[in-house]
Every structure is written in C-alpha cells, then in structure tokens.
Symmetry: C2
Subunit: 487 residues, 2 copies
C-alpha cells in the first residue's frame, strides 16, 4: 500500500468511525449472531494478491459490524466502562506510525519521558502527595500497565519477591520453595476475578475473606485471618483492598485494613480500577486521602495504587510510592539484562521493561497526553460527575417503582437493582430484558442474592438515554409480571 492510498483509506476510515460513534444509538447493542457466524462470510485463506482497500472498507459493515457488541453505545450498561475518545484514536495513529518498542529509555526516549511526566500530571490531578511523583526528585513515579489484570499480577509478584527476601534474611536456612509454600495473601470474596487469577498464576495461596453485611472487607476480619495463619506457621504477605468492587462498586474499609497491614508488615494492594478515575474530583478523593494518612504514619508497607485513568483513555495506570519498597522489588526480582538491551544512560531514567511483565511496550503515553490536553481537567471532572448523576437519576426511577429494589448504595456510575422476588424471577427478567436487544446488562450475585448491574458506560450517555433504558426495564417487568400473572 502506497502513501497516497493510505491517505485516502485512512481518511475514509476517520469519516467512518465518526459516523459509527455519532450514530451508535441506531445499532442493536448486542448482536444476534451465533457462534461461527463469521467464517462463512470471508475466504478460507489469505489472498495471494492484494485486495482493494475499498473492498476491505465495504466488508466492515458486511463482516464485522453484525458481530460487534457496541461497548460505547449509551444502551450498553454491562461490566464497567472502557476507554474510547476521539483524541485517543488520533493519538493511536501517531503511536502506530512511530511504532517504537519502549523497553528501555534509549529505545525511544520520548516514549519513556512522556509517560513519566503524564503519570505526574495524573498524580497531581488525583492530589497525590509529592513523594508519589517522579518530579519530587525522589524515587516515586508511575507506569501504564497494559491491563488491570497485569497490574494486579505485577503487584502480587512484587509482594512475593519482597516477602521471600525478608524471610530469607531472618531465616537463612529456609529455601525459596519452603517460603513460597508458607506465603498467604488475603482478598475479599468481592475482589475482582483477576485477583484470584493472579494468585493462581503467581503460585501462592490467597484466602478469600468474607466482607461485612454491607459487603466491605473489615480490618478485624483481616487481622483475625492473619493471626490464625501466623499461629499455623504461615507467612502473611499481601492483601487487596478494593475501592469500587466489580459486583456492586463497594469500597472496602481502607481506614481499617491499612493499619492492620502496617502492623503485620503485609503489602497492601489497592485496586481502584473502576472508581479510581473519580478521585480526580475533589469531592471523591476523601477515600484516597485516608490512605495517605495511614501511610504517613508507618512507612513499612509499600503503597501500590492501581487506578483506571480517566475513562476516556484505554489502559491501566499504577503509581508507586516509596520506590525503595515499591517498584524496586519488581525491578530487582525480575531483572534480566542482556547486552543487546544495555545502554549508556541506564540508571538516569526508568527502563520501564523492569516495571511490567512484557518486554515490549507501545507508546501509550501519547493517548494520555492527547486526552488530558484536549478535554482538560474540567471536562474530565464534568464527565465523571455527569455519569454519577445519571446513575443517581436511574436509581431514582427504580425507587419510584415499588416492584423494584436497590440492592447497594449508589456511589459511582453503577446501579445494582432487582425485582422484589426470587432469583429465578430476576434471572428470567434479565434474560427477557437482554433478549429485547435494546439495552445490555450483566448480573451479579452476592450472598446468593441475584441482581442486575446497570453501569453508565458511554461517554455520550444523556438523560434521555437513561429514560430509554428505564422504559426498557419497566416494560420488560410489565411483560414478565403480566405473563407470570396469566401463567
């Protein structure tokens, strides 16, 4: 493909995606295709000679769109929101053209340096104390991880390396394998599934603790578990505190868990992958400030804070504090340093390859730079406030109808609700609701109570969209209850 063809093709694609996003409400949010739908629509093998780009363009509507779940439709209320914005798309064009692999500073200095400064920008937006920032001159700083799961796994592996080193120092006769077999971490039964998976991948025991009746993990529960395990000769090393759980956007009691972790020298990993974005609004940063207070008192625990960036950017950010106890555990534990990756500036700038699982990394900071500049902090705050407001609006509609109940306090952009009645009724209700195809939700279950989760996901969602979603919910209930009545 020549440059001129690329220009024509690229510009046509720009127009196409603008049209796609601006008119996304017209599409059925979840497709009706069956598994295996796509294969018959395209050839059995790659063409020997090039196709025309115009044919590729035409195949998007024919082949791809019938099978797309439209995550950025205001009708999409499943899971949690993912990043999508015009500035981010444009930044990715540039990232794809430069296509450097930023594993070391010299491999593309701009790739590393922009990330260092962008994470400082974000840290300032979140109101983090200076020592968390690279610009403090200390060892703080952040990194963009590919996904939340990787961030969680990296934290767990860092905690594991730290625990092994500590125990070996105290009991040099113990082998690594002995130590690993005694390590135990703690998570809530409400933590994200990627925490459990990190335990499996990292080869360490994780105990799933029960939260209280409001679904928050409490300090006493953690402390009792730690004491029990210490008595049994185990080595507590890691705990996860979720701020905004996936099932119900609940906040664990950081004010209680933090001191316990300090007391027992347990690495506390804070997972705020969804709700963390909201901390850029001062009115929502209270929780995070509790965190700093805890850690200003005792520095033994390394604070790992995992936040999803402002919702319009893809990717996951982590900010490290007290690097001597944070990233250095990762950097040193998994450091391999072949000659072909060495460079003369080693040590005077971060080589991000040591801060993550992969060696390779894209020029991701461009997206953050474009998004922060082209929205501005005010608009990002306004976006978050609006999504929360829309969730509260949906909550008020649910509360206005006696057939329904709200099952969890609405704090961010997630509303958990159900029909008063059995789990079976609610399962039938969700199946019917999703089956109508106008909106899409996924369920969850806590203490055997099945409920529906409505997340405000699209950056384009307006009050009128919430009215439509509510109308769908209400009409589905009418249908179901009429049917049940007749049946």
């Amino acid at each position: 493909m020549e440059a001129n063809q690329f220009k024509a093709f690229g510009k046509e694609m720009i127009d196409y995606v603008a049209g796609y996003l601006e008119n996304i409400r017209d599409r059925r949010v979840v497709p009706t295709v069956e598994p295996g739908y796509l294969r018959p629509l395209i050839p059995e093998k790659a063409p020997e000679k090039p196709d025309k780009w115009e044919d590729v363009m035409a195949d998007i509507e024919r082949v791809i769109m019938p099978g797309v779940t439209h995550w950025h439709s205001p009708r999409f209320h499943a899971y949690f929101p993912t990043g999508n914005s015009y500035p981010a798309i444009v930044a990715d064009i540039l990232s794809g053209a430069i296509a450097c692999i930023g594993f070391t500073w010299i491999a593309s200095p701009a790739c590393t340096e922009l990330e260092v400064v962008m994470l400082d920008w974000l840290g300032k937006m979140l109101g983090l104390p200076e020592e968390f920032l690279a610009c403090s001159g200390g060892k703080g700083g952040g990194v963009i991880q590919g996904t939340a799961s990787e961030a969680t796994l990296v934290a767990l592996l860092g905690a594991k390396a730290r625990a092994i080193a500590r125990v070996k120092k105290e009991q040099p006769e113990m082998s690594d394998a002995d130590i690993v077999s005694k390590l135990v971490g703690y998570t809530s039964s409400q933590s994200h599934s990627s925490v459990e998976r990190a335990g499996l991948l990292g080869g360490v025991k994780l105990r799933s603790l029960l939260p209280d009746e409001t679904n928050r993990l409490r300090g006493e529960t953690l402390e009792n578990a730690i004491k029990e395990d210490l008595d049994a000769g185990l080595i507590p090393f890691y705990a996860v505190n979720t701020l905004g759980t996936t099932s119900s956007c609940t906040f664990d009691r950081l004010d209680e868990l933090g001191p316990v972790c300090n007391e027992y020298n347990v690495w506390l990993h804070i997972d705020a992958a969804y709700a963390g974005s909201a901390f850029i609004c001062p009115e929502y940063s209270v929780t995070i400030n509790d965190f700093f207070q805890i850690f200003d008192e005792g520095h033994r625990t390394s604070g790992l804070l995992q936040l999803q960036p402002p919702q319009m950017v893809a990717g996951e950010l982590r900010l490290f504090r007290h690097v001597a106890e944070g990233p250095s555990w990762l950097v040193n534990a998994f450091n391999v340093d072949p000659l072909y990756l060495k460079h003369e500036q080693q040590g005077s700038a971060p080589d991000y390859r040591h801060w993550q699982i992969p060696l390779g990394r894209r020029f991701r900071a461009l997206k953050l730079w474009f998004v922060l500049r082209l929205f501005g902090v005010e608009n990002l705050q306004a976006h978050i406030r609006k999504q929360i407001e829309l969730a509260h609006y949906f909550e008020s509609l649910v509360r206005s109808d006696d057939r329904f109940e709200i099952t969890e306090e609405v704090i961010m952009g997630l509303v958990c609700f159900r029909l008063r009645g059995s789990n079976e009724t609610n399962e039938a209700f969700l199946k019917r609701l999703n089956g109508r195809g106008a909106i899409h939700l996924v369920p969850s279950k806590i203490r055997d109570v099945y409920f529906l989760r409505l997340a405000v996901c699209s950056r384009m969602t307006e009050k009128s969209d919430i009215d439509i979603s509510w109308k769908e919910v209400k009409e589905t209930a009418d249908e179901l209850l009429a049917k049940n009545h007749c049946g």
Copy 2:
C-alpha cells in the same frame, strides 16, 4: 472534542504520519537528547481547560520527535524489526473506535471470531497440518498474545500446571509446593532474556544449557541435563527451542531436541518470535516441517509454536496443537469464572481470556485481516525474501573488506560481524559508529567475543540504504583505524 474537530484532526494526523514515514530517512535515527529532556518542554500539570488540537499537532515536532528513536528508518539496524504498516495503522483506528474488550465471545463476537479465522489463515500460510487449525473441527487454533514475553510466560505456566497435575496423579502424597520445588526447565544460554524472566516470574528453576560451537543447542546436551536432574530427584518439565536467537539468529537443533522431549515427556516450547515469519515462504519452512514429523510420531508432548506474524503486524501469535494438551492446561489451570463474565454460548466458541495473562484484550485481529488482505501473501513473501537478500548483500560487502569478519552464518535478515581484533576495538568501533548518528546498531557477545548485529528492520529498506549503512561502517573503521595508527 466534537466529531467535526475529530475529522479535521484525524485527517491532519493521517497526512502527518504519511509524511513522517515517507521522509523518515531525513531524520537522525537515534536522538541526541539527554535523560530529562522532555519535562521542561511541557507544562507542569494538565490544563484545566482544553487545549486546541492544532497546538497538540504542532507539539509533535517540538516535544516528541526530538526524542524519538526511529525504529522504521532504513538506518535502524538494532534489535529485531517491529511491526509497522499503513493497513495496520488504519485497522487500529477502527479497533480504537469499536474499543471492545474481547474477554469472552459475547463481549464482542466479531473480535473473537475474526481472530480464530485469521489464525487459521496464518496457519495455512505457514503450511501447518490441519490439526493445528480451528477449522479442522478438532481442538486446534491460535491466539494473538500481546507480546513475545507473555507468550513465553503463558507457555511456561501451562507446562508447570501440566507437570503438577501429572506428578500429583502419580504421587498423590506430594504437595504442590514440593512438586514446584523439584521442577526444572531447560533453556539455552542463547535464548531470549524473556525466557529467563518467565522462569523468575513463574517461580521455577530454569537451567541454562551451553550450545555447541555453532551456537545451537543439541539433543545430547539436553538429554544429559535431564538424566542428571532425574538422578538428583528433580522433575524435568519444560524446554525451549529457539528458531532464530536474538544474539545471532541461530537455529537450535529441533530435530534433536524434539525427540528428547518426547522421550522424557517434557513440554517443548518453540520460540520463533523473529524467524518464524519467514516460514510463510516455502523455502524457509523446512525447519518447521521437521517439527511436525517429530510430533507425528509421539503425541505426548504438546507443541507450542510461538511466531511473530508477518513483520508488518504488531503483536505475537501462538498456535496450539493437540489442544487437549495445549491451551486446556492454561484454560483449566487459571480458570476463574465469575457470574458477570458468564454467557450462554460458553463452550461453543473460545473465550480468549483463558488463553492469556490479562483479562482484557483489544480487537487485534483487525490488523492481521487488513495486512494480509492489503499486502496479499505474495507481497509478504516478497518482503521477507527482500530483507534476507539485503542482509546477504550487506554480508557480501563486509566480506569484501579484509578488516572485518562475519561471525555467524547469515540465514535471515541479521548480519553479525566485527572488526578483526579485540573486543575493546569493537566496542570503540560501535560507539563511534552509533555516535555519528547516521545508523543505529546494538552489540552482542557470545563466548566472550563481542560483535555487532546489523538487522534489516524497515519495510522501506532498499539496496541504496544498505550501501549507505556500509559506507558508514567502512568510514567509521577508516577513522578508528587511522586514529589508532596515529595514536
């Protein structure tokens, strides 16, 4: 940012990147900036109100480009090539607009289904036997991993899970920790650094074995190590066979290692992250066919084949065979299945989240689809042949000058060479060569012999570019030797 602004901005960026790539030869390949260069060039924090996109556009040349190492310049000969092409950039625009997270089939059916079929297309291009393909109706199929490192780690974790399960069945009294402490894997001292790192991350012993005098790992070496470890009560479980090492693009003796792994029931991981692309040319697929012959004889070992896709696509592909022994070890070992990720079609299509470390995944198959269609197999083969031909051309220039020696057989697009003389002379030579700024190479060292690696990286490299690179090499040698002579 409104749609109209996006259209103007996006199209300007398309023009910019076309101009960047078409004129990339005019830029100094490695920047001259010092660590910390970027911070003073931009504000200390994110703007409160939006910047103009025109200002962002202007800042690319002012802020970013001075710090970019131009990986796609024909003057860039470091590391190995990474993916970059016009069709891939356009595909990423679409991927960024759809911005689905394809963790399950229902989360965006097109995202999963296109990947399944694209990996079949690629499997056919490589001439893989049918059982490797999803379309065989069996359990074969491939997946795109984010990076080569992740592919290697996933394979190691799968092998670990398989070994634990096998030993537990034979010796139910052994604990997981006991088993893990006895596991031992094998790699060559010439394997990529990500293999060693996978061992560290996976918490298992890896023995680094010495290759023969031509740098190939031999079957006898592996067998001796396995026997030794079995005698010591250890459990051999995993071996890596590199086809195209990073230091010198050497091919381990798959014809010898394969049977040994079969004999001792050791999971053989084939790392062809660089050279595997060339297997789409029939004349280079001989090696891979050896592999199939081995595994047609004994099916106990699960073949994991890690290939970098045709060089114009970013990402890593893996193809699994005998899924009962391949991905199922991953799927089952690390399966966590919360209600919010369940769906009705589970089991009738792959949920790729089980095949990888992260939960989230982009719509990456679009890039493969666009690239394969818009180049066509013929042009991709032509591209690979041309890069290898250019490497041989550079080799001939080096051989024409008695001051130099070729240190490794040139098979693919990498030429390993050095000045006849000491390591110190060659270190000074590389420093001077890179310091001139016209071309960029990285060194390596095998058995204490330091040499230079010249990889043909850019898809735009022509014979005239190689002439320029040779001229640089030659003139630098002239300078250095003249200086040494005078000094």
